[in-house]
């Protein structure tokens, strides 16, 4: 009798062990999904590669050829749109040592003294098995947001060098909204002979690299948002003091949105609108301070509702209002 009991329990134990040993669920989590995603920032900055990728959204397909080269700590990028008018960009990329806020947030480095949530507080990361993309083996990683304020992603990360080979933006209902995917990619060797134009070597990289881990200074701005989706941090700000135009960029490490404040005459005639191009939404709203009209536009790859809420929350600082009142007097 008792032996029978033990046999039953033994069978149970075997069953449980079988569940735990079931391959893709646990076996591959040696390197965590979050670590894989973190690794992509470094890989995309430091690797030499040449490839063609496709960008697909709303039944439209674009193909883009890119070359990314790193020489003496400086990076160079060459981007050619293969379809349509054939738009081409040759530019100096970020130096290997350059860190931008988005990267700090992705890596989870201490940044912007306030206790903003870390990336893994905002998203859940799961490894969803393997795939073969552009002839290379890759891990599929799902990045699922923990709230409704942002989109999720499914990305494919090269097993050997950690480069992101595919990236899909996933709506809250689980549908893909857009997809980037390499169809062909090759790494060093043949890239060593490429000559970089002198002019490009001596050019400047785009401003905005962080010199310390301090938050981006927004004190010069005349405006401030009273509500932001959690985890989003100001990563770039440009203020044109002559026109009063401002441009801000926020990121949570994965998603990005911009806020443009235009006092330009040209935007004055326009009514408030919602616009959408592919996955990019734009919410234009109008604010009048004193006698000055402003157009406030929130643009980004974020859900419409989030964009609208941000746009509604942007208001002039107290000093801006006082200034306007005095101007009228």
């Amino acid at each position: 009798m008792r032996l029978n009991h033990w046999c039953k329990n033994l069978r149970l134990a075997a069953f449980i062990a079988a569940i735990f040993a079931h391959g893709p669920l646990f076996a591959e989590s040696v390197k965590s999904a979050y670590d894989l995603v973190r690794g992509t920032a470094k890989a995309s900055k430091e690797l030499n590669y040449r490839g063609v990728f496709t960008y697909e959204f709303r039944g439209t397909l674009r193909s883009i050829k890119v070359v990314h080269l790193v020489r003496d700590g400086q990076s160079y990028e060459h981007i050619v749109h293969m379809d349509g008018a054939g738009h081409e960009i040759v530019r100096r990329g970020d130096d290997v040592g350059c860190t931008r806020p988005a990267e700090m947030l992705l890596l989870g480095t201490e940044f912007a003294a306030d206790n903003s949530p870390r990336l893994d507080d905002l998203y859940s990361f799961y490894i969803r098995g393997n795939a073969r993309i552009a002839g290379r083996m890759a891990y599929m990683v799902e990045i699922r947001p923990k709230d409704k304020l942002r989109y999720g992603y499914v990305v494919a990360i090269d097993k050997l060098n950690g480069l992101m080979l595919q990236s899909m933006l996933i709506s809250q209902s689980g549908k893909p909204l857009e997809r980037f995917q390499y169809v062909d990619i090759s790494f060093p060797g043949e890239l060593d002979n490429i000559q970089i134009p002198e002019q490009l070597v001596n050019s400047q990289q785009a401003p905005g690299c962080l010199e310390s881990s301090e938050a981006v200074d927004a004190s010069a701005s005349k405006w401030q948002p009273t509500w932001l989706p959690s985890g989003f941090v100001l990563s770039d700000i440009k203020i044109d003091s002559s026109t009063g135009d401002e441009s801000w960029m926020y990121t949570d490490g994965l998603a990005l949105f911009s806020v443009f404040i235009d006092s330009a005459e040209k935007s004055r005639r326009f009514p408030p609108v919602d616009a959408k191009l592919g996955t990019t939404v734009a919410v234009l709203s109008k604010v009048t301070v004193g006698e000055q009209h402003y157009a406030i536009c929130v643009v980004g790859e974020i859900p419409d509702a989030t964009a609208r809420q941000i746009a509604a929350s942007i208001s002039p600082r107290a000093s801006t209002i006082e200034g306007a009142v005095q101007a009228i007097k």
């Binding site: 995309s44 039944g59 883009i64 931008r100 799961y126 969803r128 441009s247």
Partner: protein, 230 residues
């Protein structure tokens, strides 16, 4: 006697005649158990009814009537039997076993549901991209002053992925939707140009600030780029 008790008494009577169904028998036994737990020991309890009926039937058959309760001693005898005595170790093991089954079923359910909910990255998404087109066009039927999202087809070309309404060789244009408000003096073209310009400024910023390498550059196209240089 309440209605249900009366029915129960009927069942007991049927039981004694050997005419109960399996379900009725179980109901009676359950009632006996409940009565015992609640320590109801009046003549009203099922047990009491049962005993009374036996006495009645015995007296009618001319047998001597005596109220001897053997149940307690039988229960003691059953408890004393080896099969029913519970060893604490085996009891723990069987409990743990049951718990393990429940836990593993729960885990399978949780993992299974997660995987069901998540989009399957390996599957071909062409279909879903095509569906999205339909969604997009449905979403944009609405308020006044809305611009059509596509152009007239000017080339008899169908691309492979063109599952939706945009079957042209021209680049997609932004869907601009005016929120109803008092009319202002503006032209559609200017507004579209302004919105395209804003989106381009965003794409440029995003390409510089994102972690996704060169992928965001795909959003920037020539026509849009030209307008930004003005």
């Amino acid at each position: 006697m309440s209605d249900s008790k009366e029915r129960l008494a009927e069942s007991v009577s049927a039981l004694m005649d050997g005419e109960t169904s399996e379900i009725e028998l179980h109901r009676i036994l359950k009632e006996v158990g409940i009565d015992q737990d609640q320590q109801i020991d009046s003549s009203d309890s099922v047990r009491g009814i049962w005993q009374r009926y036996h006495m009645v039937s015995a007296s009618m058959a001319g047998e001597p009537v005596d109220k001897i309760d053997l149940s307690a001693s039988i229960a003691v005898a059953i408890d004393a039997e080896d099969t029913h005595r519970q060893n604490p170790v085996t009891r723990f093991a069987s409990l743990a076993g049951r718990f393990a089954i429940a836990a593993s079923v729960a885990m399978v359910a949780v993992l299974g549901v997660q995987q069901l909910n998540s989009p399957d990255p390996a599957s071909a998404d062409a279909l879903q991209f095509a569906e999205m087109d339909i969604d997009a066009s449905q979403q944009n039927t609405g308020p006044a002053l809305q611009f059509p999202e596509g152009f007239q087809p000017n080339a008899p070309v169908r691309t492979v992925s063109a599952g939706g309404s945009v079957k042209t060789s021209q680049p997609p244009v932004s869907v601009v939707q005016v929120r109803p408000v008092n009319s202002m003096n503006f032209s559609e073209k200017q507004l579209r140009g302004y919105m395209d310009d804003i989106m381009l400024r965003h794409s440029n910023n995003a390409a510089l600030n994102s972690n996704r390498g060169m992928l965001p550059f795909a959003r920037i196209t020539k026509s849009e780029a030209a307008s930004s240089q003005e």
